[in-house]
């Protein structure tokens, strides 16, 4: 496992470097200086404690959606539904936050629990469909995304309509926000919130489950070879449902960190891009929990720094998005390179 990590770490690093180089070429093409472009990009994300806080806050939902996709992938499932799971998690948290007036610790616990349950439910349905009827989870999770989209579209204006706009919910109270005075104060008024700690805990817990527990052993076994797992007496159907539920719960938690942490209300008609970015994060992070953590921080940095780069140079913020896209491209192809490399080695090593 260690070897796998280090190899995928090198591959990820290569993808990042190539992505940044491609970005530099683009900057040159539009007549800007890449050195100053990158300087402002990174300064935008890191130059003050407030900006560091924003970078971390931007990364938080990405850590969780990335973890969601990576966990599902490690257990043989492809979770395209992180966006919908995140959205429904956000809706559940917002709904609880706007409905109950309770002391902050109690209320936050309830909200987070609601988000986790909402996400888990959104994972449960595709999990059951896959286990019982062999419906491919890619199809099911994409459909769940739209169910989540339209649920928010209906529920928010009907029950939690904002003061001025029909298209968003009321703002949650301070008691219902994952932002806390001390943390916000410490980071000079940034968006950073308790969600970051939840995300770190989630990374630790998931890493432990995957590598050290019998539960993780079962889930991975089913993902790698369902027939062999069944032969060994593992209940494959149950494992698939559990995997999807946990993946959904993680993305749902990500929803809480975004909608009642980074933001303070929920809009209708938007599927959160973090859900899909989670796929990229998982890919760059080599589907390992700590890899996901690092990849999410890096993407968070690019996202939070691009505005500053745009303000200080003539480089449009889309360049940062292009760099992200290029990195995704390179990490996807690096998997191909790696796979073919292995195949080549096997071919050479396994001759009769």
């Amino acid at each position: 496992m260690k070897r796998f990590f280090s190899k995928s770490f090198v591959m990820a690093l290569m993808a990042v470097v190539l992505g940044l180089l491609a970005g530099a070429v683009l900057m040159l093409v539009i007549g800007s200086n890449p050195a100053s472009g990158y300087m402002y990009l990174f300064r935008g994300g890191l130059m003050s404690i407030e900006r560091v806080g924003n970078t971390l806050a931007t990364a938080t939902p990405l850590i969780l959606t990335g973890l969601s996709v990576a966990f599902a992938f490690r257990t043989g499932l492809f979770n395209i539904g992180a966006a919908g799971q995140m959205l429904i998690g956000g809706l559940c948290a917002t709904a609880v936050g706007l409905t109950f007036a309770l002391p902050k610790p109690v209320l936050l616990t309830l909200m987070v629990a609601a988000a986790v349950l909402g996400g888990a439910l959104w994972g449960l349905v595709p999990g059951l469909l896959k286990a019982k009827f062999n419906v491919h989870e890619v199809v099911a999770t994409i459909m769940m995304n739209w169910i989540s989209y339209w649920t928010v579209y209906y529920v928010v204006p009907a029950y939690f309509k904002g003061a001025y706009l029909e298209t968003e919910s009321r703002k949650i109270s301070d008691a219902a926000s994952l932002k806390t005075e001390w943390l916000t104060g410490m980071f000079g008024g940034s968006y950073i919130n308790l969600g970051l700690f939840l995300a770190v805990v989630a990374v630790i817990v998931i890493a432990f489950i995957i590598d050290r527990t019998t539960f993780g052993y079962e889930l991975k076994a089913v993902g790698l070879n369902r027939h062999a797992a069944e032969y060994a007496g593992i209940k494959a159907d149950r494992s698939i449902v559990m995997s999807m539920m946990i993946a959904g719960a993680l993305a749902g938690l990500g929803g809480a960190t975004f909608y009642v942490g980074y933001a303070s209300n929920i809009q209708i008609g938007v599927l959160p891009t973090q859900g899909f970015d989670g796929i990229a994060v998982a890919l760059l992070g080599g589907n390992s929990p700590w890899g996901v953590f690092g990849a999410a921080l890096f993407f968070g940095l690019l996202h939070s720094g691009k505005g500053f780069m745009n303000a200080m140079t003539r480089i449009p913020p889309e360049i940062a998005d292009t760099i992200i896209a290029t990195i995704i491209y390179f990490s996807a192809t690096s998997i191909l390179v790696e796979r073919n490399w292995d195949r080549l080695k096997r071919k050479v090593g396994g001759v009769k």
Binding site: T214, N225, A228, G233, K352
Partner: protein
């Protein structure tokens, strides 16, 4: 021009291994020349060189007396060399004719002329007695037929030298007989054949000469008629090999497995097993013989809990296990060596250590309160690997995928026997293995019986059944034909019963 192909002093190195070291092979015109060697001996490499897939580092190749440079398979094709690969390369939703002409389609203007191609295919089929329907779709025909399509592909391209790579590994005994017949027809029509195999019986049955290689080196070329099977085996393995399995007098004890009037539905929604009753006692090996697809798979799956029994009961040590979960059956001391080691036996991307605890991971000492104990897992794997001679480059941490087939199988056998079972179910336990590994696994299975375990052996290899079993149950069309004493029955009789002819009846 006695030799049609001569490969002289071929050397081929891969990083870390010398796959072929100074090997020469001369193929006479009109002969069947066997290339014999264990898995990994370098047979496939040598043939891949002849077929243009690899370039040799040293040595030369002569075809019809002329030195040639076979840079790629197209060159090989032009020289009239064709290969029937072990794993067929066919398009499943194409017809036989479409597959055969693929890559050299006949054309009428810009339209593909399937009709004339089909006529040629039919001619070839009749000439060589292949009996292939040119318009059948590949997905609708049997594996044996698919192999004939592969043969036709070469004939269609006017190949003179035909290389067969382990052609019988996917065939039933009848199909093997038919294939041999076809090979004789090919020789009669002036073709020459190289037969890659590690099955001695086939060599004795059909080959004229045999070249043996071991660990990349040439051991020698012999006239098959003057070499015994034992001699060939010794050349291949490098030591004497015992064919008969040493076992004690059969002392059957109590009934361990009892199957009562069992019926099981197959995946095709028809009854695959129709009311079979049999019992396996401790201290005996019951062999279940039958042609593939006659209900063995369904029977085993019902006994091991991977398929539902429609009617009837299964008892293990007197306890009804008909509706037990797979895990509870394992806990009741049932071990199972599955037919397909890649599909069922192993999780190839797990380490060997993780594979060794596949059925035990939830119990102490391998885990406590759901948390795995890496040390205990590794030590357990080291112990099993040591006891069952499982060799891997990196010990227990190596991925199961990286092991050779024989070592993978030994690992599975080790895992199953290590659990100290009372009933051992072994399905095709030596499929695709070389003589050395077969001998080893047979010995371990016989040991289990000697120590009082009940063994249910299912195999398509009649030799394996006859060698190991104390009693033989013969299954045909999902029905039990008979159960006979292994000592009082001939191979021929069992073969007839496998075809559905009961004892005493005439065929």
């Amino acid at each position: 021009m006695e030799y049609i192909v001569e490969m002289l002093n071929i050397r081929k190195e891969f990083p870390g291994v010398v796959a072929n070291d100074d090997i020469s092979l001369r193929l006479k015109h009109g002969e069947i020349h066997a290339l014999l060697g264990e898995n990994g001996a370098g047979k496939s490499t040598l043939m891949s060189i002849l077929f243009g897939l690899y370039r040799p580092d040293r040595g030369k190749i002569k075809v019809r007396g002329k030195i040639v440079d076979i840079a790629n398979p197209n060159v090989a094709n032009r020289l009239g060399i064709g290969m029937v690969h072990q794993h067929f390369k066919l398009v499943h939703n194409f017809t036989v004719t479409e597959n055969i002409m693929l890559g050299m389609e006949m054309k009428k203007g810009i339209v593909v002329d399937t009709k004339s191609a089909a006529v040629k295919v039919r001619e070839l089929s009749e000439r060589y007695g292949l009996n292939v329907d040119p318009y059948a779709k590949i997905e609708d025909i049997s594996v044996g037929m698919q192999q004939r399509v592969e043969i036709m592909k070469m004939l269609y391209r006017d190949a003179e030298v035909l290389i067969f790579d382990e052609p019988t590994s996917v065939l039933t005994p009848q199909e093997v007989q038919e294939l041999m017949h076809i090979m004789r027809n090919l020789i009669a029509e002036g073709k020459s054949i190289i037969l890659i195999t590690h099955k001695l019986k086939e060599i004795k049955a059909i080959a004229d000469r045999c070249t043996v290689i071991r660990r990349g080196r040439l051991i020698g070329t012999v006239e098959v008629a003057s070499a015994s099977e034992a001699k060939l085996a010794e050349m291949m393995v490098g030591r004497q090999v015992s064919f008969g399995v040493q076992k004690k007098e059969c002392m059957p004890g109590d009934v361990v497995l009892e199957i009562e009037n069992l019926s099981v539905m197959s995946s095709r929604k028809v009854m695959g097993v129709k009311g079979i009753s049999l019992e396996v006692r401790s201290g005996e090996i019951l062999g279940l013989a039958g042609v593939e697809g006659n209900g063995q798979a369904e029977l085993v799956e019902a006994v091991t809990g991977m398929r539902k029994a429609e009617f009837g009961r299964i008892l293990l040590n007197g306890v009804d296990i008909t509706n037990m979960t797979v895990r509870d059956r394992i806990k009741s001391k049932m071990a199972y060596i599955p037919e397909d080691r890649h599909k069922h036996g192993l999780i190839l991307d797990y380490s060997v250590a993780d594979n060794m605890i596949m059925k035990l991971y939830y119990s102490q000492p391998f885990s406590r309160n759901g948390i795995l104990n890496g040390d205990a897992i590794r030590k357990h794997a080291e112990k099993v690997m040591d006891q069952f001679d499982v060799r891997s480059g990196k010990g227990p941490a190596a991925a199961a995928r990286s092991l050779s087939g024989g070592n993978q199988q030994k690992a599975i056998v080790g895992r199953e026997i290590d659990g100290d079972p009372e009933l051992l179910i072994a399905v095709q336990p030596t499929r695709g293995l070389d003589v050395g590994a077969i001998e080893y696994i047979h010995r371990r299975i016989a040991e289990q019986r000697d120590s009082g375990k009940a063994v249910l052996l299912i195999s398509l290899e009649l030799d394996e059944i006859l060698n190991l079993s104390d009693r033989i149950a013969i299954i045909n069309g999902g029905e039990l034909i008979d159960i006979v004493d292994a000592r009082s029955v001939s191979e021929n009789e069992v073969g007839l019963m496998m075809a559905g002819v009961k004892r005493g009846e005439t065929a």
